[in-house]
Amino acid sequence: MTESCREWRGDLAAFAIDRLEPNQRLALQAHLDGCADCRTELAGLRAVAKALPEADGSHLEAPSDPPAALGDKILGVLAWERAGEHKRRRRHLSVVVGTAVAAVAAAIGLLVLGASLHATDHNARHVAFSVEPRGVAASAVLHRREYGTNVSLKVAGLHEGGEWYWLWLTGDNGKRVGAGSFQANGGEASVQMTSALPLSATRRVWVTDDKNRVVLDTGWAPELAPRPAS
């Protein structure tokens, strides 16, 4: 690009956004015919100019900031996921060790531990689905978390095509809150999902498929909220 090209910059931009007067356009075209650098510059400007009409002028001002609590909520979700991954790794390890060393003893130990946790965990509720398609078996446990509710969902017998499903919680005000989506590879899924809805306000747990049909549903269940610890 030569020093004289600088003089053409304004006209290049005006040409790119189609605002150059016809007589100026002729002069610019004459320069472009002999200047590869300016032709390249114009191509770059035109690419941006082509995208300009996509923007909506009403969105240019006052950008929306996310809620202040969103960052902490994400931290909570990932912390829970990280903890879940550790648990899964520990569970896998315990199965391997238990099989090799003392399967029966390990199984008894796990049963005792599981029973103990179930009896003392007042921040969790087991969920039974009143709506389940034939051949589908599902269970879920809701856990109270600082950021809302964690749902441990296990389901089998769904379509084996790897379809997507969405898990929803409905609050005591009737408003639904999403807990995310999951894919049932081989018709099965064992997932940890989260919703911002507090467990104390949760009254319904339900799953929809990609055609938005309800697949699993507890129905309206006031007893979902955990009883206070005694």
Binding site: G44, A47, V48, L52, H59, P66, E81, R82, G178, K211
Partner: protein, 180 residues
Amino acid sequence: MGTDTRAALASDDGVRTVYAAHGSELYRFALRSLGDAGLAEEAVQETFLRAWQAAERFDETLGSLRTWLFAIVRNVVIDLSRARAVRPELASIVSQTNTTDAPGADDIDRILVAWQVEEALRMIGEEHRVAIVEVHYKGRSYGDVAVDLGVPVGTVKSRVFYALKAMRLALEELGWSGDD
């Protein structure tokens, strides 16, 4: 590489850093696409979750973390749009639910470009933004804008030029691929 991203998302400080850098723009894109603050919040949350789950597959030689996060949020937005479009509350009653209102990938891509242009306009300098908004979006003549701003016409033309140049850089930073 993926390991670094996984490591970044493995600690609270790392998540805070990634969220501080990209959380707001992800939220604004989701809000722009979905038109619902609650769903936008859900979309960002789901984006970070999927990013954490897939962090091993992130390859910074193929694109920036921002570009990767935007590829994820784009898919999340499509999922949420489809879920919302079919009105799940009614689906169990109305079996012949119309699903044609769900925006497709092309619609979301157009919204993504729109958002990128708007975000790029916010990112460039005030003088350049005013010049391009007045001349292009408001359709005013260079002369009128020059009079309003108290500068020569050549200065307005120059500002529009630099506005487009700065926008190109901003758009590329936002993962725009407008030369396709």
